[in-house]
Symmetry: none
DNA sequence: ACGATATGAATGAATG
DNA sequence: CATTCATTCATATCGT
């Protein structure tokens, strides 16, 4: 989403202290009536820098702490904000990238290969784009290898990867009957609720893809 | 835990018994083709009750069966949903702590599984805030379990700390009064409001390699 | 002011 | 058990 560069729609250019309090009326000091974190430009700048210039995509809890501590200089921020920011940033970048080439052709801006995605004008049909059964995760490396010294300079780092998502939707507009999602066919969806499962069925923990057999223990 | 005032979340309430469409002819894709389980308030409430009041964290397959069977009264649900719910809830609770560094001093007494800290006001928002006709979560009869099993070892362990979750009791007819407040005190927010931290701003992570970028600029 | 978009937040699902 | 992905809701912000 937000390409490394600036573009329209910042909130303000207060590169100084913190500007969080946008509670216009009154402006309580200690009561952050702001429902959600509104990052300052400095914070965003740093976050983007980490994201693009340092390849940080999914910081660990440790990193999150440090980042948030660092960003706290510029305004109120908490760990979850950092966490969510990276999550969202990554997700949206991918999401938008994914639309490139599927059912959407509206590409007026002619995606420049060497440039930022520049807030696509295309209208994402996030309003009703149902059924996305893209669950094929290639075993590609996430590219999040903590390469401390990557590009370390401007320019979009190799952050992005291939991620070929074929967008293979099965057009299975399942009618909302009783069955739900029978992914993989055979694990969880014991849709035969009507019937009685006489067996203790400890295959409950049998995930669609056998990964670790079973558990049977709790913490 | 959560920031004070939040309304969030959608309004998805399945019909308790039968939420189907016109099955068969025509198909008629019913809306909400959400491929994923959307818990009802009652379901959430019960789950949290189990989690907080009964200390259920990683229910066994048997427990999952019973729990899901019971929750099915309030909407469609499958075992895996229960499984995932507990997994996620637990994981996220932990995660929050990690991010914020365990500095949550918001745990005065707590640890009373069957008592709700009076400190919490009527703020029972906690999470799902459905605003629909079906929002009534008062005294639903919790005794009419049509569980196929008479054992009914639905968790009901001593929450406090060590849950021996493994053995039967009577039915957990505990009065499902609302209690599921965050006894753990964990929370994303509120860990430290003083944004003083005039401290090392150039100390992000422990870069294993002394070559971590300066984030001084971006454009 | 509204509507559209951008984006923070939440959470189900899945993978390792 | 932790980490990540996907999807969706909620809301702040900008454009008109």
């Amino acid at each position: 989403m937000e390409p490394p560069q600036h573009h329209h729609h910042h909130q303000a250019d207060q590169e100084s202290g913190n500007n969080n309090n946008k509670s216009g009326s009154g402006g309580y000091t200690c009561r952050q009536t702001s429902t959600r974190w509104t990052p300052t430009t400095e914070q965003i700048r740093i976050l983007k820098d980490l994201y693009y210039n340092n390849g940080v995509r999914s910081p660990t809890a440790d990193q999150i702490q440090k980042i948030s501590a660092r960003l706290r200089q510029y305004g109120k921020i908490e760990g979850k904000n950092v966490f969510y920011w990276f999550q969202n940033h990554k997700a949206r970048e991918r999401q938008k990238k994914r639309f490139n080439g599927t059912t959407m052709a509206t590409t007026p801006t002619s995606s420049s290969p060497n440039s930022r995605p520049a807030s696509v004008n295309v209208k994402l049909d996030q309003e009703h784009h149902l059924l996305h059964h893209n669950k094929s995760y290639p075993s590609f490396n996430n590219g999040n290898l903590n390469h401390a010294n990557s590009g370390s300079e401007c320019g979009a780092v190799n952050a992005s990867n291939g991620y070929m998502s074929s967008h293979v939707y099965g057009s299975m507009e399942q009618d909302c009957s009783m069955s739900y999602n029978n992914i993989g066919g055979g694990g969880w969806s014991n849709m035969d609720h009507n019937h009685h499962y006489s067996a203790p069925a400890y295959n409950f923990f049998d995930r669609p893809k056998p990964l670790f057999g079973l558990e049977g223990h709790q913490e």
